[in-house]
Symmetry: none
Subunit: 401 residues, 2 copies
């Protein structure tokens, strides 16, 4: 694809509307008995009609053979090279608890752990303490003061929590303090780049104070830092694509990823129908909508083929709420495949359909992995989606004379 | 594809086994009478069944429209960007005579030529002297001593031979001494980069001494240097892909290319059946096997359509020796196309089939150019093969969180 600076020169603001509908983990693998994937098994007349009228194909969110995490998968869909624009694990963790990261913030995902009298880690997860205990200990850690830095401590589930540091001159290039196995002491935080020396010192200061605070909280008497990373400064969609973009997602991590590229986050309920109601209510106010459906991925991760089929069928049934709004361009795809057979993200290319008045339709008569192999889009990169959607919305000018 | 450093971070060692079977020059063009390519004409039930069960498509070893030499074609198959990692002609020549190049070695392909009393080249190939005469003259050249440098002189066919220089501080950026046409004197060797000045001086020293040695060997009374190049320092497959790779090839050049990326070279016979016996004997000792079949290319180069068909059929007939070993991932493709119609390498994308438990099968029911156009792999780069093979062998972790 073109670099974002060049795309920015071509993008124009128009009244046309684009909807990017992301079924998380959409792509699948055939059931061993029926030979059909989840998408091929589902009864989904609306998606099939859109595929018939539209143009289909496959995307590689990163590149062939590469299994994307949710971060790279989504950045690619949003038009950002996922290899160039990295989102660290700590940042994702903070986004996942709906924390509104500011530019320069450094985030880490942390574990409560157990150390013996010599300071040696004997349980990296502190016996998976109850989530309520976690919240109680995080409240204690919040009393820790670090000179010149604001610290946020956010409880997660069991032994997991997130810490965010806000201040001037921080850097995200700091190695984990987690020794990765028991029988070793937690490591000192070490800066991996010169600009992160201050941050490493702050982490060490925080850990030392946490150890004191937690001294009588056995088994959760120590903490480990992992995935220390700084919020990336991504070009904003309003600037690059001249869009006024909005995100509708029931899970915080996806709202967070959308926030990183400057989308306006719309409040919504918990079901896909709720999301589409939110879409309808806000239809007049934005020209780009990203809608995220989580449950296809959750079912795939659980290895529940039938549930993934059902999620697709139920989403299809309420899809007329979206179709009736008549977006100029509708893209339906996923951020990666999550075949129930593999119980996790996979490298398989993800089916995509693009529906617009100008899309040059093809021989794909339904929305499925099989049909997409004869689709007119062929096999493209995830980062090609935004330029294609923009073009079909007549929002991209000619490149060169 | 991702850069090798990123791939290296994702690669994990597992017991699963990958076989990369390369039919040299596999792709073809339709016979003018039957309208079928060599692959479409051949009776090959085993390859067809693998294609039916697997996923098919096309690769461009370099990029669309580019006809690859054997070096770039193979580096691409091995996962190395063939534009970034160049293998010089002299290096290929040395590999082609099975010379074990070490890091830093500089190799050249040379001609015996004829010069007149004024030193002007009157025959660039010395009348294509007999190969036995060549060997005899190379034995003489071996007596030449160069201060601080070890010199290897390896006879080839007719007027061709190879020279390898081994020593400290050599460089491969030296222009040819071949004037390219008769009526001119051989050129002085000139360094094209500052680090190659010593090398240029050594070449000139060697040529001057060779002229003396050959003074009474008319018509082979002088030599020309071409394709001077240094052995590239390629990242090793064991390091990048965490594989313990082995190569099975009857032709030395392909063993040499495999050696450059760190494969263990297995001794083998001369037929494809011999190669598959070697595979079976070494099955327990490696997790990656590259197998090279030369004769498809040779038949294509000779413009012998029927022989290329026969080579494919004969290979297919012994393929059960390989299939019965049940590799976790089997890839069958070529390093380029060699249509009998063109009597040489061509730019046409090369059919590929990938067979694994997790490959997401497609509508390609046989292995042919026609079937590959509806294959689920679409049209990918040669460098995508290794990530895809690794992914299908469950040897690649997720990229990003």
């Amino acid at each position: 694809m073109l670099d974002l600076d060049t795309l920015k020169d071509l993008a124009v603001e128009t009244p046309s509307k684009i909807v990017l509908l992301v079924f998380d983990g959409l792509g699948g693998l055939p059931d061993l008995h029926t030979g059909k994937t989840e998408l091929e098994t589902a009864r989904k007349p609306n998606l099939d009609r859109l595929a018939d009228e539209g143009v289909c194909g496959f995307i590689d969110p990163v590149s062939p053979g590469i299994t994307p995490g949710s971060g790279p998968g989504h950045l690619s869909l949003f038009g950002y090279d996922p290899v160039r624009y990295l989102v660290g694990r700590g940042v994702l963790e903070a986004l996942g608890v709906d924390f509104d990261l500011k530019g320069g913030d450094v985030a880490a995902r942390c574990n409560f752990c157990t150390v013996d009298v010599n300071g040696v880690v004997i349980d990296r997860r502190a016996g998976r303490i109850p989530t309520e205990k976690n919240a109680e200990l995080c409240a204690k850690l919040r009393h820790i003061k670090i000179q010149g830095v604001e610290v946020f401590v956010l409880p997660g589930k069991e032994h997991r929590f997130a810490v965010i540091f806000r201040g001037k001159g921080l850097g995200g290039e700091v190695a984990d303090t987690d020794p990765q196995k028991t029988g070793l002491s937690p490591k000192q935080a070490i800066a991996l780049a010169s600009g992160s020396a201050k941050m490493a010192a702050i982490v060490n200061d925080f850990v030392a104070k946490a150890r004191t605070v937690l001294s009588d909280s056995h088994p959760a008497n120590m903490i480990l830092f992992r995935g220390i990373s700084q919020r990336p400064n991504l070009p904003q969609m309003s600037d690059v694509f001249k869009l006024n973009p909005a995100a509708i997602a029931t899970y915080p991590m996806y709202r967070g990823l959308a926030r990183l590229v400057g989308m306006n986050i719309l409040g919504t309920g918990t079901t896909f129908a709720d999301e589409l109601d939110t879409l309808a209510e806000n239809w007049a106010h934005h020209d780009f909508f990203y809608i995220h459906l989580k449950y296809t991925d959750s079912a795939g991760e659980d290895g529940d083929f039938a549930r993934k089929v059902r999620v697709i069928e139920e989403a299809d049934a309420v899809l007329p709420k979206l179709i009736d709004l008549r977006p100029d361009v509708l893209v339906v795809t996923g951020d990666h495949s999550t075949p129930a057979l593999l119980k996790g993200h996979s490298w398989h290319p993800v089916p995509i359909l693009l529906h617009s008045q100008y899309c040059r339709t093809d021989q794909a008569k339904e929305f499925s992995e099989k049909a997409c192999t004869v689709g007119g889009l062929g096999r493209i990169r995830g980062t090609d989606i935004m330029p294609l959607a923009m073009a079909n919305a007549l929002k991209l000018e000619k490149f060169g004379a």
